[in-house]
Symmetry: C2
Amino acid sequence: MPAPITEEQHRLDREALLDAAERLFYERGIQAVGMDEVRAASGLPLKRIYRFFAAKEDLVVAVLKRRDRRWRGDLAAHVERVPDPRERVLAVFDWLAEWFAQPGFRGCAWANAYGELGSSSEAVLAEVRSHKQAFHDQIAAWVRAAGVAVAEPVFLLAEGAIVTAGISGDPAPARHARAAVVTLLATPSSGTADALTELTASTSMDASLN
Amino acid sequence: MPAPITEEQHRLDREALLDAAERLFYERGIQAVGMDEVRAASGLPLKRIYRFFAAKEDLVVAVLKRRDRRWRGDLAAHVERVPDPRERVLAVFDWLAEWFAQPGFRGCAWANAYGELGSSSEAVLAEVRSHKQAFHDQIAAWVRAAGVAVAEPVFLLAEGAIVTAGISGDPAPARHARAAVVTLLATPSSGTADALTELTASTSMDASLN
DNA sequence: TAAGATAGGGAACGATCGTTCTCAACGTCA
DNA sequence: TGACGTTGAGAACGATCGTTCCCTATCTTA
């Protein structure tokens, strides 16, 4: 065999490629970054990049997949260091606050990818949906463990905080969302809340709803 | 003057151009739509398009500006048909639910534009921020009029519902956000107290803290 | 050492982008 | 009527995209 590429080097090169692509795609947008720029940043020849991934779309999906694993892993590690179930839910928003304050924070990579490619790449759309579903399920599990039945609003507050912090460039939404979650966790759980919803909704419905 | 273009026709052509561009940009993404496609869809010659807007970026900004006026105008019209201040806040989410259910709904046009061009076009970024600020201020005014001081979470729930409904393709987040707002409006966070607030507070005192 | 397979560097390709230019057609005024 | 100014239709331009191909250097094995 005349090729001296070890298995380990192969793995390292692939990681370097994903590192470079992820940074560029997140910083400047996916369509704004050409493959030649990925080549220059990764140090790998174009030929090898296309042996790793047959097309740019595959590279994008791989970047999102790896980022999802790392992002949710970091979140879970932070959250599950907290023993109390109720505090765990709040820890999600402390972690978000730290993320928002990082230099170069530019909102949700998946939401951004959706805006760019959601209607033109089925594979990217599927990856974005997969990530959001997994994030939702993580939050739902932690909220359930806290003994309350308000998973949905906690997830929506997190999503709203991420998109708002990204666009505004201000990490404050993490604090606002956290404060709202404190309130929601302190309200009587599902049965009473639903009854209250029904009561208020019945007096306001003019149209819509389903 | 040899040019028979009336002032009125000029205005109509401009609207047709913005109509076509808005539809294409929202459906398929901004970068995915070429100027030649805008030309074909609008029926206007390319030369006239570039007399209206010197560059594609200017067209994009104009589309976002006009959509902002219409979008927030429609929202305000729906909300302010409701007399009761508290119901008005909930009416925001009824309007969102109707929007989410419309065919072709593809999330927030401004958030999508941010994902695509937020880091490469200062003008687009400014327009996106301007829209989000205006939407935030609208909600804050309605929430304040309802006599409670929880504007931020209501805004974040709306944002979370929009992005989630867009990505998932499911209009349910509007209902979930609405239910959460009902809870928040019934919480004595601002010191204002009425019968409903007292009732909910008295049954929820077991939780709380931090 | 000779032979051969593969790697990297980068040019090349076809497509498409935003934008400009050409040119014929036409309506208006001297 | 004839010259002019403006228009619409679309070709053309330069740049850039994702992707492929060529060529040479280099390393392995006989």
